[in-house]
């Protein structure tokens, strides 16, 4: 799933390791989410949203929104 995680992390000057520690997941998990190789579960998506103090939809791009834009 497309997302703004890398950008939000870069704005705070956090490494993937830093973000992983804050979310209590591995660095490779952060990398997989950032690159869109892995879609986080709803609880993890909420943790990410709460960490950045943003609604989920401002971090993750809804696949249905993407396809409707494409149309």
């Amino acid at each position: 799933m497309e997302n703004r995680l890398r950008l939000l992390r870069a704005e705070r000057n956090w490494s993937q390791q830093d973000l992983g520690q804050r979310l209590e997941v591995s660095r490779q998990s952060v990398n997989a989410i950032e690159t869109g190789k892995y879609d986080p579960s709803l609880p993890l998506a909420f943790r990410i949203a709460e960490l950045f103090d943003l609604p989920i939809e401002e971090i993750f791009v809804s696949p249905s929104t993407r396809s409707s834009k494409a149309i």
């Binding site: 998990s29 997989a32 892995y38």
Partner: protein, 135 residues
């Protein structure tokens, strides 16, 4: 990357069970070879080395329950699916070849060896498709 506490516990369990397996196997082989096993205990002693292996399957299940990192957990689940599909496919093909008299009988424990090999194949598949091998 530092591994999770669940991973460390899993590793210790596997190391302990592997040591137990080696001990039981040596004891059972020695017992049968020197005819030290009474007839009433032959089945339990023969099964003894299998128990730690079953324990390793249990340890893997326990790890999946205890691992808090959902992505890492998913990597291991994919490995297990790969291992199971690989082993069941080989067992099915071998079964038919055996049925038609084209190959000899294989010892049942080969299933376990193939399954653990399949875990390695799953790790390679994870690495190629996701960039991370898993366990």
């Amino acid at each position: 990357m530092p591994r999770s506490p669940a991973w460390a516990r899993y590793n210790w369990r596997v190391v302990g069970l592997s040591a137990l397996y080696a001990t039981f196997l040596i004891a059972a082989v020695y017992g049968f070879k020197h005819q030290l096993v009474p007839p009433a205990l032959k089945y339990p002693v023969a099964i003894l080395p299998a128990l730690p292996i079953i324990g390793i399957f249990g340890a893997m299940g326990r790890y999946l329950v205890e691992e808090q990192d959902e992505y890492v957990r998913m990597l291991m689940v994919r490995q297990i699916l790969w291992a199971s599909a690989f082993t069941l496919s080989i067992a099915t093909v071998w079964g038919f070849l055996d049925n038609f008299g084209l190959v000899g009988h294989a010892d049942g424990y080969w299933i376990v060896i193939l399954w653990f090999f399949g875990l390695g194949l799953g790790a390679i598949y994870n690495k190629l498709t996701l960039g991370a091998a898993g366990c």
